[in-house]
Amino acid sequence: MNSVVCISQVPDTEARIKIASGNRQIEEAGIKFIVSPYDEYALEAAIRLKEAKGGEVTVISFGPDRVAQALRECLARGATGAVHVKGDLSDIDSFGIARVLAAAIREVPHDVVLFGKLGVGTDNSLVGPMVAELLGYPQINVITHMEPGEGKVTAHREIEGADEVIEASLPVVLTAQKGLNEPRYASLKGIMAAKKIPIDTKTPTDLGLSEQDLAPKVKITSLELPPEKQPGRKIEGSDPAAAAAEILRYIRDEAKAL
């Protein structure tokens, strides 16, 4: 069973975000970039599929030069091939990304196409289902469990207060939620082996996509930091009764939640 995993490289979850001049993007200097946390679950699921059933695991990322580093990391963890579609993402929207990824996915063998349920940073949760639609595949979104079958997979989709068990025919798009698995770290051996695997580099043009195809339908016009929150009141709570009374007053009179 062959898998493709789409990898987005994002600022470290602890990074302090600064806005670059122009007020449309973040300042990238000094920021550490990582593989988006949900994409790690997606990759781990693909590697386990390979271990159980054989097949290839191809990781694909669309982005500037720096994303090659993220792809290397995935190779070190067990991906067997990597495609880097080079491009500047600053004026590309989710649909443009989905178009590029769909075209790149078509060129590699796949039964299962995995995404993170959300790219940490863009916080969109759009690209996976958009690719599914472009390719005409079924999708199972926000999965916490998956089992491959003959020509199909069964996965658990997390919704409000319930888990849905969904079966879909292959090829299928799956988006990974926390809980799907525990991602492994790269081993030294993996890191060494990864160095020998070439990254297949191409451009959207190589994939047959024109500038027109990638024209954004959603445009960021400005980016700003959230308003600094005024620090609230702090009280001493060594007397539980007094503390509880003050909390209750706040809940009733200020939050109006009683």
Binding site: T13, P37, N124, P129, Y137, G161, I235, A243, I247, L248
Partner: protein
């Protein structure tokens, strides 16, 4: 081409809260586009919510009552919604930010060659364009985006828009026929492991516990207060990773992003990844014994003290207050 169409979800015969919120912001937007507010509902009970959608300002309810839409399925719903959109030609399509809304929005967008602003906290229509504000980088920044396609699609962040009833009469029901599709994915079963527990997404009040609880059993301190006050139970990742509670309860960057009216955090230090999931809550109360804990930076009311002594008294006080 100036209508605003709101995709409605029905649970137990009623509109869900995210749908009510989407209708409310949709009504305001329709005022700006100069078009009608339209609702769409799916499945056998679809037409029955007409009084509710009417009260929230929708002049018409497009009901697709086909039996095959009884339970949500991506492919079935995408086809059915595409039919309604073809009939109504809206300028804007809004969905609630529920699991199903977020599953459907990108799929229908790709089908229609349209753009989506997801998880928006404010929406305006100006100069013939939909402009949205949305949190990015887990709330560490806010982006203003324009959606340039027709229709322009958006999913509304739960709790960001108050549901406001106008008291209008029931929507006029327009029945839409649907050709069921040959779906490649099908629902085998739906399991609710914690039936009866309120889910984070829809809760107005969330009481969350962290590693300060010391052990799994002590989540009872959190549950008792949550039940007394009528809220949902939240948790930090540290407690989820320790196996004290199911990850459905996790709040934060790799859990649920929530924005309830009231968020009470007890024994949670306030790591940036936790704050990312709750800092937009309207009112935040933190109880922590460490006066330097980062959670106090976002708390409206911070209580420096021991959760084990304070929570039981508070729970009792809340019970008494509720009884009166």
């Amino acid at each position: 081409m100036s209508a605003v169409l709101v995709v409605c979800e029905i649970r137990d015969g009623k509109l869900t809260k995210p749908s009510r919120e989407a209708l409310s912001v949709g009504r305001r937007l329709a005022g700006q586009t100069g078009g009608e507010l339209l609702a769409a509902a799916f499945g056998p009970g679809a037409a029955s919510v007409a009084p509710e959608t009417g009260k929230l300002g929708a002049s018409k309810l497009y009901a697709v009552p086909h039996e095959s839409l009884k339970a949500y399925s991506t492919e079935g719903m995408t086809a059915a919604l595409a039919e309604v959109i073809a009939q109504t030609q809206p300028a804007v399509v809004l969905l609630g930010g529920s699991s199903d809304g977020r599953d459907l929005a990108p799929r229908i967008a790709a089908r229609l060659d349209a753009g989506v602003a997801s998880d928006v906290t404010s929406l305006e229509w100006a100069d013939g364009k939909l402009t949205a504000r949305r949190p990015v980088y887990s709330g560490r920044a806010f982006a203003t985006v324009e959606v340039l396609s027709t229709p322009a699609i958006a999913t509304c962040r739960p709790n960001a828009f108050p549901a406001e009833e106008s008291g209008d009469p029931a929507s006029e029901v327009v029945e839409v026929t649907h050709e069921p599709v040959e779906a490649k994915a099908r629902l085998l079963e739906s399991r609710s492991p914690e039936a009866g527990e309120m889910t984070l997404a829809e809760a107005d009040i969330i009481v969350s516990g962290g590693r300060g609880l010391k052990e799994a059993e002590n989540f009872s301190y959190i549950r008792d207060l949550a039940h007394a006050i009528g809220g949902a139970v939240g948790a930090s990742r540290a407690t989820v990773d320790a196996g004290w509670i199911d990850h459905q309860h996790q709040v934060g960057q790799t859990g649920r992003v929530v924005g309830p009216n009231l968020y009470i955090a007890a024994g949670i230090s306030g790591a940036i990844q936790h704050l990312a999931g709750m800092s937009t809550s309207k009112h935040i109360i933190a109880i922590n014994k460490d006066p330097e804990a980062a959670i106090f930076r976002v708390a409206d009311l911070g209580v420096v003290g021991d959760l084990f002594t304070i929570l039981p008294v508070l729970t009792e006080e809340v019970r008494k207050a509720k009884a009166n």
